[in-house]
């Protein structure tokens, strides 16, 4: 009977105590950090999707994925993205200096609805911090909003270059230049290439130029507004965030294109991601419209909104890069 009692105690100690210890360790761990779980958007996306914290106070995040590899980054931030591995905890401490609403998002293509994987962190003013300053809402004064441009139209022109892609280098080699008013960003960003072409055609300097040479000057004007650094940044952003749908060549043939097209087939909008290599469409579109589309999204077309994710500068770099699908710089 004594042996039986020992055996029963052995059982009691090894089983319930073990499980109880596990639960205690769990509750202790969770009290010190916020566990942020990532799942594919179809399975729920981020959990939790909304967090509240105070400015100036660190927030310890324990990131883990329940399915595939995800990435975590704060929108409009220079902090590098952190990979979120399946079943593995990655700790990350966030510290926001200023109050505001920040968006965190997935940086790894985890599925067709990857871009829906977003959440918000509301950072409240810290009473211990004197004179807190609200973060500027960056897109309130964006160009497309100030101009009130129509984003949901279907720009189209039949006036397109007939002898291939416009080339900025060819224009530069001619040794002449259009009036400087064309180079003001406010001008060319609010006009489509075809509008600029039409305006240039009326300028005296182009009287002896062929249509193709005038198109080359349009490319040259666009080239003057950007730089190799901006184009590199735009390309990186495009590759990471846009190419899955629009394709690396910009032809709207990315790996997710067919799925997006099927999903939004009955939405009444265009079928599939925009083809940036199509001159009829692209040359009738102004950079301001492209900026607006990127910030606001496609509204029912499957095009995500990137306003809370990219900075103003990043968006213009991206827009600049999109023109490389039409122009040779």
């Amino acid at each position: 009977m004594k042996a039986e009692s020992i055996a029963r105690w052995l059982l009691i100690l090894l089983l319930p105590v073990l499980l109880l210890a596990a639960l205690l360790l769990r509750s202790q761990g969770s009290s010190q950090a916020v566990e942020l779980r990532a799942r594919m958007p179809e399975q729920g996306g981020w959990t939790p999707t909304d967090m509240i914290m105070s400015a100036g106070q660190p927030l310890l995040l324990r990131l883990t994925s329940d399915d595939v590899l995800h990435g975590f980054a704060i929108g409009q931030s220079d902090e590098p993205a952190v990979d979120v591995f399946p079943g593995k905890m990655t700790e990350l401490t966030l510290l926001f200096d200023q109050p505001g609403k920040y968006t965190y998002y997935c940086t790894r293509w985890c599925g067709a609805n990857h871009w829906r994987m977003r959440g918000t962190i509301e950072v409240l003013p810290n009473p211990d911090q004197p004179d807190p300053t609200q973060v500027d809402v960056p897109n309130e004064e964006s160009l497309f909003m100030r101009l009130g441009v129509e984003l949901d139209g279907h720009p189209h022109t039949d006036l397109v270059p007939e002898q291939g892609r416009p080339d900025a280098h060819r224009a530069a080699a001619l040794g002449i230049a259009p009036p400087e008013s064309y180079l003001v960003p406010e001008y060319y960003r609010t006009h489509s290439p075809v509008e600029v072409f039409t305006a240039l055609r009326r300028e005296p300097f182009s009287a002896s130029l062929s249509d193709q040479q005038v198109w080359d000057f349009v490319a040259w004007i666009w080239q003057q507004g950007t730089s190799s650094e901006k184009l590199a940044e735009g390309q990186e952003l495009y590759t990471r965030n846009c190419a899955a749908c629009h394709g690396t060549s910009g032809a709207g043939d990315g790996v997710m294109a067919a799925q997006v097209a099927a999903e939004y087939a009955n939405s009444g909008h265009q079928s599939g991601p925009t083809n940036f290599t199509n001159p009829q469409r692209s040359l009738a579109t102004s950079p301001a419209i492209q900026q607006g589309k990127i910030i606001r999204g496609g509204m029912g077309t499957g095009m995500p909104y990137w306003g809370p994710i990219f900075t103003e500068e990043q968006i213009w770099s991206l827009v600049d890069y999109l023109w490389t699908f039409q122009f040779d710089y």
Binding site: M1, A3, E4, A7, R8, L10, L11, L14, L15, L18, L19, A22, L25, R26, G29, E35, R62, T64, S65, D66, D67, P86, G87, K88, M89, E91
Partner: protein, 470 residues
């Protein structure tokens, strides 16, 4: 055939008769089992980081198929945690018999005294295995269901009804335990004959009557002996022992061959082939069909699975056996000894020769297991430190990277195992004894009747070689 009585070695008999070593191992196994259920339910849903998947389907499976079954037969059954809670309730004790336990103590129905239910249970699990093996929650629910059924069986029926007649794992462990080089047997059957109390079956103050419902003096093969060691404890004449013996000794004996066991051999061999195709093959549509449970394609997959293991494979084997019988019979005609046909019916021959598939099937499962066990064994190290995927690092191994082991030699090992399995199957077929009551067979006839069976085994082996290695 020579035997070495291991219980003669000092310490071994004492260790086996004592309940403590076994109890400690059982409790550890039960703790692991409970942790697997808890981890599956409340741990990370990522299989490669969850104890329920990694420890059960990689760690335990490796231990079972690569070590326990080939070397110890039903050794795992002696410490298996699944029947423990039910058995303890039934017996009212963790150690020696003392007082009355719980339960109705019904006899298991006579019509179900076979392994057909085990065959069905295995097939049921096999059809859903792609999800069970990868989803911690599903895995945990299945393990919990095993536990519930085992407890219920212990409370309704006498002894270990779950282990003997229901456990989907126990069925194939029993089949392949015939290969193992260990056996529990009586030393001298005349001692048993003179022992009127039969405490090994009826029980005594020292222990319980055989929980596996086996009469130990009648043991001729390992299939149904759970190596629980109760008979070692209850025999007053110290007439039971654990023998070290040649591998596959049980396959040399003609007695006790049955259709349910024969079909178990087909189910296991067929499952190994299908798993190899689904999990290791290049066919995406097969994987999709196996994973999308409930879909039309899964229903087609399930129908194909069942057709293959219950009709196609046994059908082809039956044809091979019948051909062998016909050829040996015709050949006998030439040498004018037609009456020496070994089996009275093809059915008898089918059952007898099906035991050739025991070493072949075990080799197939070892080869299949090698492919994923060695590749995924390193998942154990992070899981040891963080069994639930909650971010612990108990043993500082949570960050251990995934590292496939012996990937260069795995195909060689697999090919070697399959070759050994084929040769062993051929040897078993060639030495398949005549059915009880049949007349002796001429050596030439023996070869001819086994030849189609050997060809069948060769085709299966080369098919597996292609799936696993090529």
């Amino acid at each position: 055939m020579s035997r070495l009585e291991l219980t003669r070695i000092p310490g071994i008999k004492t260790a086996l008769r004592s309940r403590w070593p076994q109890l400690v191992l059982r409790v550890i196994a039960l703790a692991g089992f409970a942790l697997a259920i808890v981890a599956g339910i409340s741990g990370t849903p990522v299989g490669s980081r969850n104890f329920a998947i990694v420890f059960v389907w990689i760690g335990w499976w490796a231990l079972l198929m690569l070590v326990a079954v080939p070397l110890f037969g039903r050794g795992w059954c002696s410490i298996c945690p699944i029947p423990m809670p039910g058995e303890w309730l039934q017996q009212g004790s963790l150690l020696k018999p003392q007082g009355k336990g719980l339960g109705l103590g019904w006899r298991w129905p006579n019509k179900l005294r076979n392994i057909w239910l085990q065959n069905g249970a295995f097939v049921l699990v096999a059809l859903f295995s792609t999800v069970i093996l990868t989803s911690p929650l599903t895995s945990a629910l299945v393990l919990a269901a095993f536990l519930v059924v085992a407890v219920a069986a212990s409370l309704v029926f006498e002894r270990r009804a779950f282990c003997r007649y229901l456990c989907p794992v126990g069925g194939f462990i029993g089949l392949y335990s015939q290969v193992a080089p260990l056996e529990l047997r009586v030393k001298d059957s005349s001692v048993c004959a003179a022992h009127t109390e039969k405490t090994c079956y009826q029980g005594s103050a020292e222990g319980y009557g055989c929980p596996w419902q086996v009469f130990p003096p009648g043991l001729v093969k390992n299939t149904y002996c759970g190596t629980c060691m109760e008979c070692l404890r209850t025999c007053p004449h110290d007439n039971l022992t654990i023998n070290l013996r040649p591998f596959g000794a049980d396959l040399e004996k003609p007695s006790g061959r049955k259709l349910d066991e024969a079909f178990k051999a087909f189910i296991m061999l067929g499952s190994a082939m299908i798993y190899s195709a689904v999990m290791l093959g290049p066919w995406g549509f097969l994987k999709n069909a196996a994973y999308n449970i409930g879909s039309l394609q899964w229903l087609v997959y399930a129908a194909a699975f069942l057709t293959f293991i219950f009709l196609a494979l046994p059908g082809l084997f039956y044809a091979a056996v019948a051909l062998g019988q016909a050829l040996s019979s015709n050949n006998a005609q030439v040498v004018r000894v037609r009456q020496r046909r070994p089996f009275s019916t093809h059915r008898q021959a089918f059952i007898a020769f099906a035991y050739s598939l025991v070493p072949l099937g075990l080799a197939a499962w070892i080869a299949f297991s090698l492919s994923f066990v060695l590749a995924n064994l390193s998942y154990l190290w992070p899981v040891i430190s963080d069994p639930l995927g909650w971010g612990w690092d108990l043993l500082r191994t949570a960050q251990a990277p995934w590292t496939p082991y012996l990937s260069g030699v795995t195909p060689i090992l697999q090919a070697g195992v399959l070759l050994v399995g084929l040769l062993w199957a051929a040897r078993t077929a060639l030495r398949t004894p005549a059915a009880p009551g049949a007349r002796p067979v001429l050596p030439r006839q023996q070869v001819i009747q086994a030849l189609p069976v050997i060809l069948f085994c060769s085709a299966v082996s080369f098919g597996l070689l292609g799936l696993l290695v090529a």
